[in-house]
Symmetry: C2
Subunit: 434 residues, 2 copies
């Protein structure tokens, strides 16, 4: 996450490996087809929908309690099971037809539609960026709630839950099946493993994907900023800096690899869709008087364009192989250098055109609610379905928040019910109402 | 150190930053002038010298006790004061004319000569490589004593002390003054600061320098392997790997610096006196999704030739500046990169020709004692006077040892008294006997 079109939260080094929304790129404003504006207005006038809107307001004390309870159920990377079971129980109590955990501990709650020809996913993510042992006790100052993970994305989980409750209470029947999902592994090294598992071969057929992540009611992520991340390690025998001189030096190879990669990558990224690269972390070596036995770097590459992402990835691979070859040619004694290239991150990229009905609907809902829709790019669970060309948006859950990925994370219930109203409208428009 | 012409002890990464003796290079065997052989034979026949020889044997229980007591007085890098005071007390008790600690805590003990036209230094070093808190309790297995630092160079300290005792007991008067020294800072990052302080401007006038370091009675270091060591740090603002893309990347500069340096250094070291370089330790960066704010490397360069050492140093400096300039030219936004070049090691290099009387004398003594003198290169306190062209040797203190710089360091009193006899002969030959 976060959803607000600001970069502030993302540039603080604390937010290690996090998924992150980034600034909207220069995109031409996109018109909203009147067809979708009419559709949303009509939907919103339905008595059951109006009743659900009121229910979101009435539910607020319960939603607040759910938020605190889920936030205080720690959900560190790769350890979301406890929260997952709790969330599954909540989904069951809210009336889903069937609720289960899949093999990676995603919570899946199916609410059957009438037509059952389509499935729309409504998802928030279970995991936080915070390691085990982080104090997740919720503190209140004035009206603001403070706790690690409270906004990103625990608020999203409670908003999705409230939407299910609203549908159930007023017996709103959709045409499509709605699959409510609490997903694991959205953040950092989780590397979208929850959503990737949803889209595994033989997984459920999914026709549309609505991710709920971040606050506010205006942001709409319809582009996935893809990233490839590698940890590359050169290895040699190591030895005394004088006595063993002439053996391969892994740092020599790393220096060459960085040099060749950045020379080519610089040219490659001067044109076309914004594509970035960063040699981010390096290490290796034991002592100033020893040729190291290993040298490693972590590299991050990003682009909205799959072609550009693959292109810059190839430059990295070529640079690494060239460096390996040349360092080995330079050696005067001893065994060859080897290299281990390990991919540690693979977030696919892509875009759903703003003319696609789901995006149009999300825009029309924002307009209906009196705000200006903000189309943007992000690196969220949405990346996976976006890359598959499945109609997808990530939208916020209302209220105002900040400090995502920091220990001072906060969320303020500033008309938070508007978030649920918005989600409900987008969902119903996409899933169809009988 | 150690003194034995073996590399084994030096290639183990544990021996961080250590001074170290290295394998003898291909040097033609050097003849020993009969003049020095005669000189040593004559010296050794003197009754007082013969009596001193016996004294070294008689003193062995005391020398053993001194060795244990000094070894168990920890002397970590930069924290040699406690051992220094203890050693000063021992020197005073042994009969030196005056004993004092200089401003870096070197122990200096002057024994006046008759002529007083020259000063010969006899030195061992006080410091060990072991950090504060290391268990320095001496353990005995069979006849072997085990403890960190017991050989390197605590045995040297006790040998020098015993030589003073022998001189005093038998009233052997030298022509030159003899300055007995317990030096601080020989190892690693101590960077020879003790011996460097001896040779500061306005320091004592020193005409010959005999360092006692290592075991055995055959090794003679007459060449100083110089080294320059740097810690080089590139610094930039740092930022998000996507959002802040285009700012300077310190790792980019480091990669370039390594590339340019090693390309040139490889050519430079293919000819002439053996000269080595090693990019040994690197680091920097906080997270895979952040452009780092700093990138650093530690570089080691060595040569017996001051010209080659300075030459390769210039290649490093040029590569660093070129990398800085080019990384700054590559940037698309933000402030410039800066670089901090910090020299963390400066051991001068040089050689004392084997024809110089002190080296001839050391060789003649070895021959006299029935062993083959082993001329070699080292990186010890001797580097400093050698670089100044002052007649200098590093010789061992007898016995057998091993595991220098490891927690399993050991020393065995295998006719250790021969070490003192050897030191006495070299010293008396160089200082002259009345």
């Amino acid at each position: 996450m976060p959803m607000k079109p600001t970069l502030a939260a993302c540039i603080i080094p604390f937010f290690i490996g996090s998924a992150c929304l980034v600034q909207a790129q220069d995109e031409k404003p996109v018109a909203i087809d009147t067809r979708y504006q009419t559709e949303i207005q009509t939907l919103a006038k339905r008595p059951a929908v109006q009743s659900a809107f009121k229910t979101f307001v009435e539910l607020e004390p319960q939603t607040r309690q759910d938020l605190i309870s889920l936030t205080e159920t720690a959900s560190p990377p790769f350890k979301e099971q406890v929260r997952a079971r709790k969330y599954a129980d909540m989904m069951k109590a809210a009336g889903a037809d069937s609720v289960w955990l899949d093999e990676v501990s995603n919570v899946l709650a199916l609410r059957r539609g009438k037509g059952r020809r389509k499935t729309v996913v409504l998802e928030a993510h279970l995991d936080t960026v915070f390691p085990e042992g982080t104090d997740v006790k919720v503190k209140q100052k004035g009206d603001t709630l403070y706790a690690p993970g409270i906004g990103d994305d625990t608020r999203g989980l409670t908003a999705v839950l409230a939407v299910l409750k609203g549908l159930e209470k007023h017996s709103i029947e959709t045409d499509a099946d709605v699959l409510f999902v609490g997903a694991v592994g959205e953040e950092g090294l989780g590397d979208l493993r929850g959503v990737k598992n949803l889209f595994k071969p033989n997984g459920p057929k999914i026709d549309s994907y609505i991710a709920v992540d971040g606050d506010g009611i205006d942001g709409i992520v319809h582009r996935g900023l893809g990233s490839h991340r590698y940890r590359i390690t050169f290895k040699g025998p190591g030895g005394h800096s004088y006595g063993a001189f002439g053996i391969v030096n892994p740092h020599g190879a790393l220096g060459k690899a960085i040099y060749y990669f950045t020379q080519e990558a610089d040219k490659f990224t001067r044109e076309g869709v914004k594509t970035t690269y960063s040699v981010s972390v390096i290490g290796g070596g034991t002592s100033v008087n020893a040729v190291p036995y290993e040298s490693w770097m972590e590299v991050d590459m990003r682009s909205e364009s799959p072609d550009k992402l693959n292109g810059i990835d190839k430059l990295l691979q070529a640079a690494v192989q060239r460096a390996l070859t040349e360092e080995n040619q330079m050696k005067r004694a001893g065994p060859d250098l080897t290299v281990d290239v390990k991919q540690v991150g693979d977030r696919p990229s892509g875009r759903i055109e703003p003319t696609v009905p789901l995006v149009q609907r999300a825009m029309a809902v924002a307009r209906f609610m009196g705000v200006t829709p903000q189309l943007s790019v992000g690196s969220t669970n949405a990346n996976t379905p976006i890359a598959k060309g499945i109609p997808t948006v990530t939208i916020g859950s209302g209220g105002t928040g900040g400090g995502a990925h920091s220990l001072n994370e906060w969320w303020l219930n500033d008309k938070g019910y508007l978030g649920m109203q918005r989600i409900l409208l987008v969902l119903l428009a996409e899933a169809g109402v009988k």
